[in-house]
Symmetry: C2
Subunit: 200 residues, 2 copies
């Protein structure tokens, strides 16, 4: 901007800080900064407060590694969960999706990432050792690999499955198949091929 | 998320605050929050600081209405600018684009918006009165309407042109035509039609 000097600083610094958010380029960052300063200063202040509060208070659950504000998250601390079952998910959002389905009553381990060879992220980087320590607590009997069915999610599941099996754990994977509510004609071919292969 | 209770609060509040950014839905907000807390806490702290600093220190230039940290922005305070020429732009980003072209030596008026009947934004909402007061300072001779060539930018230019002309000011509009560096075959038809009409 050509408005030079001191008055560039606060606005330029805000645009620069917004650009560090994932998926935000310079145009989006400008639009966000202008919007906040012109139309929604309360939102800017609320965001600043929420950022500071989250950075100070959010840490990782010592059992499942998800975000929490206490040493052990509420799910891990819940005695009604079936501690023999451990679902491995990529993110807290994936965990939330499993919870919403109402079909899983066990505990979780949240990887907070996935294997991605192109980015140099292997099993060690997503805490495979931590998962192995958690899964071999003597209570867990079955580990459900609930990583995504993307190429990276599949790689992650494969990388973890061998190590878990070697420790005598039963390892399962979410079933692939036709999504509920789908007309077959709109389902992609590889999904149909998997559904045929795994028919029961 | 099913991690319930107190530990939802900081993360959920952060996701909610990020959703108030323009163009950010719940999935993007989650991804941003996870990224900041997992991989880039310094970016979260930098953003919080930049937000607070900008909210506290950024205000509007009393002459051109752009964002500034002083009463009058550096451009308006620059005695080398030609005060007889006033360009009207929609945003500071548009002003910056004009500046980068190196072709304009006058002063600016930044609307911080544009007429948008569907959103209930008329000439009054984008400060037409303030522009008229600024343009009739006895020094300005020509107002260059440099709003965008979108439907809303054109409407804005039309809405302002009549009032400015009624006050005896010369009102011009940026030329429409074929962009520099373009092959004609890739230029859209209405641009070619305008370029033909305005040939010189």
């Amino acid at each position: 901007m050509a408005t030079g000097g001191a008055q560039r600083d606060a606005l330029a610094a805000l645009i620069e800080a917004l650009r560090r958010l994932p998926g935000v380029g310079v145009k989006s960052a400008q639009r966000m900064a202008y919007h906040l300063l012109q139309h929604d200063k309360p939102a800017a202040q609320a965001l600043a407060g929420a950022l500071n509060h989250a950075v100070q208070s959010v840490r990782h659950c010592t059992r499942c590694h998800t975000f929490t504000e206490s040493a052990v998250c509420a799910t891990c601390a819940d005695p009604r969960r079936d501690a023999r079952l451990l679902a491995v998910v990529e993110t807290p959002a994936d965990q939330a999706a499993l919870e919403r389905s109402g079909g899983f009553k066990g505990l979780y381990f949240v990887l907070m990432g996935r294997v991605s060879p192109l980015d140099g992220i292997g099993a060690a980087e997503i805490g495979a050792e931590r998962l192995l320590a958690r899964a071999t607590d003597g209570v867990v009997e079955e580990v459900v690999l609930a990583t995504g069915f993307t190429a990276e999610g599949e790689l992650t599941a494969q990388a973890l499955a061998a190590a878990l099996k070697a420790r005598g754990l039963r390892v399962t994977r979410l079933a692939r198949g036709v999504p509920a509510g789908s007309d077959l004609e709109y389902v992609d071919l590889s999904t149909i091929a998997y559904a045929l292969h795994d028919r029961h």
